[in-house]
Symmetry: C2
Subunit: 219 residues, 2 copies
DNA sequence: TTACGTTTGTTGCCGTTCCAACATACTTGC
DNA sequence: GCAAGTATGTTGGAACGGCAACAAACGTAA
């Protein structure tokens, strides 16, 4: 057996499996590893959506070309995360977005149809895998809901406050470090970086929170 | 056996099952039906998130109380759709939103933990059910992605055009009826109704499309 | 230290949205 | 038809964000 995986540590997809079990699983799902340089495509718009991927190293971006020629970055996908899972399991026939490497990356490509089919090899972990996939996709749905709640605010300060309070709620404390620098936070909130900086200052002066760099303390 | 379902027609959750099979399934999932008047809660914030629902009749809204006291409507859920599925299958322990009836409604409540557990009664449709749930949740994820793409535009006209072009792409024609009146469309795009009306007029005058009521024809 | 690049904060102008109020359709029930 | 209610379109003033250009703080390497 070819061992495509060298570790299952940190992969939600393989939660509850040993390395051997996961590698058996991978073989059962037609697994193969591809490598891509920065900018190279993993999935292109219009391609058949029956495969999904797990990022082994590097990072990807999901992009959509706007009508005006502008490229919109829909999301970033980091190591050990899944890509195109929703596409593959939704029953949609073709990809409506483009996925490309944001850095030199290695991706484990898996056949989605095999996930739900009765396992030919009688491997005992399909049920576990299905539960994991369901949990991953569901969690992603919740994340997207949270993001929509933030984006439903139109002003920069409302978006910032919604983000900070959601974050505080999630981490159970009102003092925390956010995982973004200013530019990344601006991209996430879909606002201008400079306007965001200005709002951070203004709200801090107004006493809504204290902050230094990406450390925040809500009041 | 109590037959809680009188039809499986239109329920993606029971796709591929007969009415008898679906009713057996429902019993296996601890199914029971609840009724709620408009405004009454189905799930409250902070409650244990191990159940989900299928709307038998009526319609629901998922709401979140903002810090400023404003209630944000996150989404509407219509007949035969699922509610709280992502919550229940994500592994999250508690609900972070509130779900209430938007009209007098009957909801079939199901136990999410039973979906993935090996079936006690040996009923043959767990695998099918799991596939259906995965497809439903995945499709929802794609919908949310599309909405985020729309909301990532900040101007009303960009949001409107993004929505219309996405819709045209989905229905495969550039002449179509949208399922919203102006107020609903404004809510969906997170913009002001009056500003939206103004933009519709302006873009129609500018020749981007022709429109009458909710019938649009892109040029 | 100096020089350089990167990140973050600040400012002014201009375009757009918000909000409220009003005007004009369209629909429904009588 | 008429009236009442709802949906849609229009307008003007105030507020806000986008953009560009610049200033300040920080880290790094020669």
């Amino acid at each position: 057996m070819v061992k495509l995986l060298s570790s299952v540590q940190g992969y939600e997809l393989f939660d509850g499996m040993s390395l051997e079990e996961a590698n058996a699983m991978v073989e059962c799902l037609d697994g193969h590893v591809i490598s891509r340089d920065k900018g190279a495509a993993i999935f292109v718009e219009g391609s058949h959506a029956n495969r999904f991927g797990a990022v082994l190293s590097g990072s990807l971006v999901v992009v959509k070309d706007g009508l005006d020629g502008k490229r919109i970055i829909i999301k970033r996908i980091g190591e050990k995360e899944l890509v195109a899972a929703a596409q593959a399991f939704s029953g949609a026939k073709i990809m409506r977005v483009r996925v490309e490497a944001d850095a030199p990356s290695r991706i484990l490509i898996l056949n989605a149809e095999r996930v739900c089919s009765p396992c030919c090899n009688g491997c005992a972990f399909h049920a576990r895998l299905v539960r994991n996939v369901m949990r991953i996709i569901s969690a992603k749905t919740l994340e997207l809901n949270a993001k929509i709640e933030i984006l439903s605010h139109r002003t920069t300060d409302d978006r910032l406050l919604a983000y900070l309070h959601t974050f505080a709620e999630k981490c159970g404390s009102n003092e925390f470090d956010i995982p973004f620098d200013r530019q990344q936070l601006a991209d996430f909130l879909c606002v201008e970086r400079s306007a965001l900086s200005a709002e951070v200052s203004r709200l801090a002066r107004a006493g809504a929170f204290a902050c230094h760099k990406n450390h925040f303390k809500l009041t």
